[in-house]
Symmetry: C2
Subunit: 406 residues, 2 copies
C-alpha cells in the first residue's frame, strides 16, 4: 500500500511542503522571471542558469571555426546527448540519438518500424494522439501502402497489425497510459511498438528497456528544458539496431562518413540514426540544460509531480470545476486539464495576472507542472486566481493570437 | 566581351587590389581570429559580429518563455528567413521556407518532385553529387519504386525521366554547372528539376525564378555564415505550391495548425513547407548572420570570388600544381581544388601554419574562397605557404581525425 499524503488545505500548509521539498535546490538553478507562475513547462521548459551560448558562439564557432568538429567535440554531440537523455528514459547507453525535430524522428521511427514487419499491413495510432503523430502515421502509411487505423491505446488490436504508435501521456488530457501492458499487447499481436514520450520525459520515470519498447521518440524542449525547438531524439532498442532501416539517409549516419562514397551503408549501432549536420548551437543549449539531471532523482520528480497535480485537482474539486485528467496516480502524467466553458478567455485572463498555462481547443485549460521549478505555493496561488476568476469575473471575449505552441 | 583583369603578380599588387576592394567593409563585420587564413568558408562560414544569442537565450527564452512565439515573432521566423534567403537565390517572396537539415529538405523535395510526375519512373542524380544527395535519391527511389540513375549534369536524359536532381556547384571540384540549360533540358524531357544550391548560395548569383527551377534546397552554414548546423531551406516555385505534396507532415505546415485536427490538410503557399517546431536558437543565429546582405551586392561577391580563385589558380599554375577546378569563369564556383599526391598531409601542415582548407579523399586539397571576408593578400600568402610546403618539405604522414565536416 503506497502512502499518499493529502494535498495541503491552506497556503501555510503549502509553504511547509515547499520548505521540506527535496527538489527545492533545483528551482534555484532556473532563471525564472520574478513573480511569474509558469504552468506551461509542458510546452516550453524554463531556462536553467547552466545554459549559455557565449562560449559556443564566440569561442567554438567564432574562433575555432571548422576545427570545432574535433577540437570542441561537435561530432560526438548527438550521441553524447542521446546517452544522457537515454538515462532519463531507462535506455542503456548506445540506444538514443539526438537530432532533428520530433516530426522527423517520428517519420524515421514509423517507417523503420513498418520495415521490421514487412508482411503486416496495419499501422495503429491513437485517434487522440498529438496531431503530428497522426499526420506522420498517415504519411508513412501512404508511402508504404499501409492501412492506418485510429484506436485508443486500450482498445484491442486488429488482425494484421504491424506497427503500434502511441504516446505515453495524452497531450491534452494528461492521461498516462500503461506503457508496459500496451507494449506486451502489441508484441503478443506480432507488432512492433513506437512510443512518443514527449509529454513524459523529464516529468516521470520511463523505462524503455524494461518494458521492451522497440522504438521511441521524444522532444527535449518540454520537461527537459532544452530551449525553443531543441532537437528531438530517437530510441532504437539494441536488438533491432543491426536491421533497423531508416529512410533519412544523411551522410552522418553512414558507416564511413568521410569516405564520401556514392551508396549508403548505415553505420553499426545507434550511429545509423544520425541524419545530416545537426543544429549545433541549439544542441549545445540542450546539453547545458541537461546538467541539472546530474543531481536529480526521477523518483523525487515523480513524487512532487503527483503532489502538485493532486493539489490542483483538489482545489478544482473544491470549486466545482471539471477535471478531465484521471485521478489515479498511475494514470496521470504531469499536467491537469480542466474543462471550462470559456477556457480561452480564462487562460488569457490568467496570463494577464502573471500565470501562464495554455488553451487547447475547444474547451480545455491545460496546466503543466514542471516539478523541478514549481512550488506548492505556486500551485496554491494559481488555483486561487483561477477559482476567483471563474467565480467572480465576467470575462471579455478575447481575440485569439496566431501562435501558441505545444 | 567581358574584361577579365589578370591576377596580381606580386604581393604589393595584391595589397593594391585589397585597398580598392568594394567589399573591404564586409570583412570588418566578421570576428575572424587574428592571423588565421580561413579557406574553409565553403564548409563552415565565419561568424559576423551581428550574431549574438544573448537576447535570444536570456530575454526571449528565459524571460518571455512561451509567449515568445508571438511576442518575439518566433512563429514567423522560418518564413521570414526564407524570404531573406530567397532574395539571394533569385526567388520572389513566398517561395522559400527555412528549417531542418539539408538531408531532410532533400528528402522533402525529391519526394514532392516525384509526386509531380507520378507517371514517370526514373530519378536522375549526379554520380559525383554530394553523398547525401545520392543517398537520399536512393532512399526516395526505394520508397516510391523509382529507378535511380546516376549521370553527369551534361549527359543526355533517359526515357521516362520524372525527376532530375543536381547540385549547382560540384562540392569537390568546384565545377559550376549551367543551371539554366540543364533546367531547360529537364523540362524538355518532361521532368521536374531539383537544384541543390548549398555550394552556390551566398557565393554567386543564383536565379531560381528566372531559370524556371521547380524545387531547390540549400544549406546556410557555408557562404551564408549561419553557424554550425544552421537550418537548411527549401524553394518551391509558386506555380507548384497548390499541388506540391510533401511527405514530412508536421503540424506547423497544417492549414490550421492550432485547430489540432486529426487529419493533415496542408497550408496554402510556402507555409506547407513548414515541418515541426524549428530550432529557434540556431535560427536566430542565422537571422543575425543574414544582416550583412543588406549592404552587399551579389555582383560584387561574384566578381571578387572570380578574382580570388583566378589568383589561386595562377599561383598553382606557376608552381606546376594540378588544378581540378575549371578555368572558365562560367564553369567555376567559389572554390579551387588541387590534386596533390599527399593532399592530406599538405592540408594538415597548412593548418599548423594557420591556413585552414580541407581535404577530400583520395587526393584533393579543397580551398574555399568566401568573398565577404577573404583578401587577395590572404590568397597570396596562403599560396606562398602551399607552394613552399610542396616544394621543400618532406611531409610526415599524419593520422586522420574522425570528423571534418563539409
Amino acid at each position: 500500500v503506497s502512502f499518499e499524503p493529502r494535498p495541503p488545505d491552506s497556503r501555510s500548509a503549502a509553504i511547509a511542503l515547499d520548505a521540506a521539498d527535496p527538489l527545492a535546490f533545483a528551482r534555484e538553478r532556473f532563471d525564472l522571471p520574478p513573480g511569474l507562475i509558469y504552468l506551461d513547462g509542458n510546452s516550453l521548459g524554463a531556462k536553467t542558469s547552466s545554459v549559455s551560448l557565449d562560449d559556443a558562439v564566440n569561442r567554438q564557432w567564432g574562433r575555432d571555426l571548422i576545427t570545432s568538429w574535433n577540437a570542441n567535440a561537435w561530432w560526438t554531440l548527438p550521441r553524447r546527448i542521446g546517452d544522457r537523455i537515454g538515462a532519463l528514459v531507462g535506455a542503456a547507453s548506445g540506444q538514443v540519438m539526438c537530432g532533428d525535430s520530433t516530426t522527423v524522428q517520428l517519420f524515421q521511427a514509423l517507417t523503420a518500424a513498418a520495415r521490421l514487419r514487412p508482411e503486416r499491413r496495419v499501422l495503429i495510432t491513437d485517434g487522440a494522439n498529438f496531431p503530428t503523430d497522426q499526420y506522420v502515421a498517415d504519411s508513412v502509411g501512404r508511402l508504404l501502402g499501409l492501412d492506418v487505423q485510429r484506436t485508443s491505446p486500450i482498445d484491442p488490436l486488429p488482425e494484421d497489425v504491424g506497427v503500434v504508435a502511441f504516446s505515453t501521456v495524452d497531450y491534452r488530457t494528461g492521461e498516462r497510459w500503461n506503457d508496459e501492458a500496451i507494449t506486451d499487447a502489441a508484441h503478443e499481436a506480432g507488432a512492433v511498438i513506437v512510443w512518443d514520450v514527449s509529454h513524459a520525459v523529464g516529468a516521470l520515470p520511463v523505462e524503455l528497456d524494461r518494458i521492451g519498447a522497440d522504438l521511441a521518440v521524444g522532444c527535449s524542449y518540454k520537461y527537459l528544458n532544452g530551449g525553443p525547438g531543441a532537437p528531438a531524439w530517437i530510441y532504437v532498442a539494441a536488438r533491432h539496431q543491426p536491421w533497423v532501416d531508416l529512410p533519412l539517409t544523411g551522410w552522418h549516419g553512414h558507416v564511413d562518413p568521410f569516405g564520401l562514397t556514392s551508396t549508403y551503408t548505415p553505420a553499426a549501432g545507434i550511429e545509423r540514426a544520425r541524419i545530416g549536420t545537426p543544429p549545433v548551437l541549439s544542441m549545445l543549449a540542450l546539453e547545458g540544460a541537461l546538467e541539472i539531471w546530474r543531481d536529480v532523482s526521477l523518483a523525487d520528480v515523480r513524487a512532487k509531480s503527483l503532489a502538485l497535480t493532486d493539489l490542483a485537482i483538489a482545489r478544482a474539486d473544491a470549486a466545482g470545476l471539471e477535471t478531465v485528467t484521471p485521478r489515479g496516480h498511475d494514470r496521470r502524467g504531469s499536467q491537469v486539464a480542466l474543462r471550462l466553458s470559456r477556457a480561452y478567455e480564462v487562460c488569457q485572463a490568467l496570463i494577464r495576472r502573471g500565470i501562464i498555462g495554455d488553451f487547447r481547443a475547444p474547451d480545455l485549460l491545460r496546466l503543466g507542472f514542471a516539478p523541478l521549478y514549481l512550488r506548492h505555493t505556486d500551485v496554491w496561488d494559481a488555483m486561487d486566481e483561477l477559482v476567483h476568476l471563474v467565480e467572480t469575473e465576467s470575462l471579455a471575449a478575447a481575440p485569439r493570437p496566431e501562435g501558441v505552441v505545444t
